[in-house]
């Protein structure tokens, strides 16, 4: 199957003001990846990692180097053809707040291309009718039909996010890009969006790129995650492969009273790797069994409250990939 989004060597540098001459903020630094139809790909990274910048480049909002292809069309050379296949929320859902949801969607339709609007409608159908039908359908999909005529100003954050998705879905694009769609939503709202995203991918075969720094959410929503840190993709993993770390070792968590000391002890005694202390918990990768580790700790005089073998969570991958090696700070070189 052909990729609906192909990004290769995407780079975006901003001039670094007030820093050494010639220095640049490498907001996005040569990233490459693909998104396939029906696939939900997570774009995960800490604040300032370059997620929004990459999305701005992919949606043609800023200049970039490298290539971006949407549904086979090069964004650089076939700008409009490429954009015909795209629906997106970039940074925030953008809308005219003094107007209703219906107005916003109708307006958006009026600035969309006729060919995309007519797709799937019988030829000869009046464009006005098509637009009304599309608007209605988009509102229905995101569950905003009952408030369609109230001003967007009066909407809650979650309703605005949903209207943003309705805007992105209006022309039934092959590629949907959502920049932090769960931003500011309550658990119910997040679940709604997750279900919507999953069903759009599964039922409509849309390729979806979602950015977020909500690790747990990404794990539930995505088929695959790209971890981006300081402008570079540091990991590209299928969710089902997350259960193991790169060496294939198990992840174990120990809860104890003297975590720091225990961490050192475990490192010496079992040759554990990737040891992370988090409050009273010590996480590490090791080949030893839970029973062995418990025994060693108790014999060494630690108060052990719990030892468990965990599934390797996205959080662990995230912490490991983002914080491994390189020092903290701005991505300025």
């Amino acid at each position: 199957m052909d990729a609906v989004l192909t990004v290769s060597g995407l780079t975006k540098h901003y001039p670094a003001r007030g820093m050494a001459k010639g220095a640049a903020i490498k907001a996005v630094d040569g990233i490459s990846f693909e998104v396939y139809p029906g696939e939900v790909v997570g774009f995960l990274g800490p604040n300032g990692a370059g997620k929004t910048t990459a999305i701005k480049a992919i949606t043609g909002l800023c200049s970039y180097s490298g290539t971006v292809k949407i549904a086979g069309h090069d964004l650089g050379t076939e700008h409009n053809e490429a954009l015909k296949n795209l629906g997106a929320i970039v940074e925030n859902p953008d809308m005219y707040l003094n107007k209703s949801a219906e107005w916003n969607l109708k307006y958006l339709a009026s600035v969309s291309d006729e060919q995309s609007l007519r797709k799937g409608f019988p030829p000869g159908e009046k464009l006005g009718r098509i637009i009304s039908r599309r608007v209605e359908k988009a509102l229905e999909t995101v569950g905003l039909k009952s408030r369609a005529t109230s001003r967007v100003k009066t909407y809650s954050l979650g309703m605005k996010q949903r209207l943003g998705i309705a805007q992105a879905l209006l022309t039934e694009p092959k590629l949907l890009i959502l920049d932090e769609p769960a931003n500011g939503l309550d658990p119910d709202g997040i679940k709604d969006i997750r279900d919507l995203v999953r069903s759009l991918a599964a039922k409509n075969g849309i390729g979806i790129l979602v950015s977020s720094h909500q690790l747990h959410e990404m794990q539930l929503m995505c088929d695959r995650v790209l971890i981006i840190s300081r402008g570079k993709i540091v990991a590209d993993k299928k969710i089902e492969d997350l259960a193991r770390d790169s060496s294939g070792a198990r992840r174990i968590t120990v809860r104890t009273d003297r975590a720091e000391e225990a961490a050192r002890f475990i490192g010496e005694k079992t040759g554990a790797e990737n040891i992370v202390v988090d409050g009273g918990a010590v996480h590490f990768s090791a080949d030893a069994t839970v029973a062995e580790i418990t025994k060693e700790l108790v014999m060494a005089g630690f108060n052990v409250y719990g030892v468990s073998e965990d599934e390797l969570s996205l959080e662990d991958v995230f912490m490991r990939e983002v914080h491994s090696g390189a020092e903290e700070g701005e991505n300025v070189r």
């Binding site: 949606t59 800023c62 200049s63 953008d94 005219y96 307006y107 600035v111």
Partner: protein, 355 residues
């Protein structure tokens, strides 16, 4: 694609509150001016009635109309030729400094050309009024023509502000709200969006000025008598014609409209370049006037857009455009400036990062 974008922009740029404000301002202006002018007319009438008609003294209500005789034309020609001589000598002495002041040579040449036109066409013994960029002299009493042209000149300023709000705000608003991203990820192309926005802002400017001018004309002709006096029209001090004073309305409408559209383009470019409402709306009007004044102090006023956009100064012989200006200099200067501003707006929107 363009047509749908254009209609969308037209609707978006329509602000009910701004339009209502505009209408209220126009209504108040019309009312106050009508009341003021009407009472002045009453005053003139009562004074005129008190003066018994006397042989050799023309009635006061027609005092701005001129009746030429062959002798008076020759007399004035002699005077203006002498004045032109003096002005030309001064021009030589001043050198480049001459261009810092209004152009006396142009002015006197115009007066002479007009007198020669009167002589050649033997317009003797007829009551004549003059048209100028600011209006028409149809006698001491206010007439429909003087009312419309006076209010029209004030309206020009108001409509320029309206045009600047619409044209200067159109991109600034979109950038501020972030909706520019939503627009730019649609497959219409940024160039088409710029065109739609510009044409729509110009449509708004034209519509606003047309409606306000039409209202003014309606009130003017309803409240005051039409003069219809035989009026000398001149263009660029070289072409002359005599026709009804009411034709000044069409001329004023056209020249003012050029000015409104020019300021709309200036504001549009400023808004697109700065993406900021204050710079898009307020700055162009103030800044460009200040810059225009400074430039004309250096004797280059005729090459700046503010002067080149004021075509009314080439109507009538009583105007004093900046040194060296005439319509055939202003026209290319105006074209170059408006084209440059429009192109820079396009380039700024198309080439710069939208977010």
């Amino acid at each position: 694609m363009f047509a749908r974008l254009y209609w969308g922009e037209l609707r978006k740029q329509t602000s009910k509150s701004v339009m209502i404000t505009l209408l209220i301002i126009t209504a108040v202006l019309l009312l106050l001016t009508a009341v003021l002018f009407d009472s002045v007319n009453d005053l003139i009438d009562s004074v005129a009635d008190d003066i018994p008609p006397e042989e050799g003294i023309e009635p006061i209500r027609d005092s701005y109309l001129t009746v030429y005789t062959p002798q008076s034309v020759e007399q004035q020609l002699t005077i203006y030729r002498a004045l032109l001589d003096g002005a030309e000598r001064e021009k030589e002495e001043l050198g480049f400094d001459y261009y810092r002041n209004p152009d006396a040579v142009y002015h006197y040449k115009g007066q002479i050309a007009m007198l020669e036109y009167i002589r050649d066409n033997e317009l003797y013994g007829v009551e004549l009024a003059y048209a100028s960029g600011l209006g028409v002299s149809t006698g001491a009493r206010f007439t429909a023509e003087t009312f419309v042209t006076t209010v029209g000149t004030i309206l020009l300023l108001i409509v320029i502000i309206y045009a600047a709000i619409v044209a200067g705000g159109t991109f600034a608003d979109e950038f501020k709200r972030g909706t520019v991203k939503m627009l730019f990820i649609r497959p219409s192309g940024r160039g088409t969006i710029v065109t739609a926005k510009l044409v729509s802002a110009l449509t708004h400017s034209i519509a606003a000025y047309t409606v306000m001018f039409a209202l003014t004309a309606a009130v003017g002709y309803a409240v005051f008598p039409a003069s219809g006096a035989q009026t000398i029209y001149s263009f660029n001090n070289s072409a002359f014609t005599v026709s009804s004073s009411s034709n000044i309305l069409g001329i004023m409408f056209a020249t003012n409209l050029i000015e409104v559209l020019t300021y709309a383009v200036i504001a549009f470019a400023a808004g697109a370049l700065t993406r900021n409402k204050v710079f898009g709306i307020v700055a162009p009007i103030i800044l460009i006037e200040v810059v225009g004044m400074i430039i004309s102090m250096f004797g280059l006023g005729r090459f700046f857009i503010t002067d080149a956009a004021d075509w009314s100064q080439f109507v009538g012989v009583s105007n004093l455009p900046y040194g060296g200006a005439n319509f055939f200099i202003s026209l290319p200067v105006w074209i170059v400036w408006t084209a440059a501003l429009t192109v820079s707006a396009y380039l700024a929107v198309i080439n710069r990062d939208a977010a």
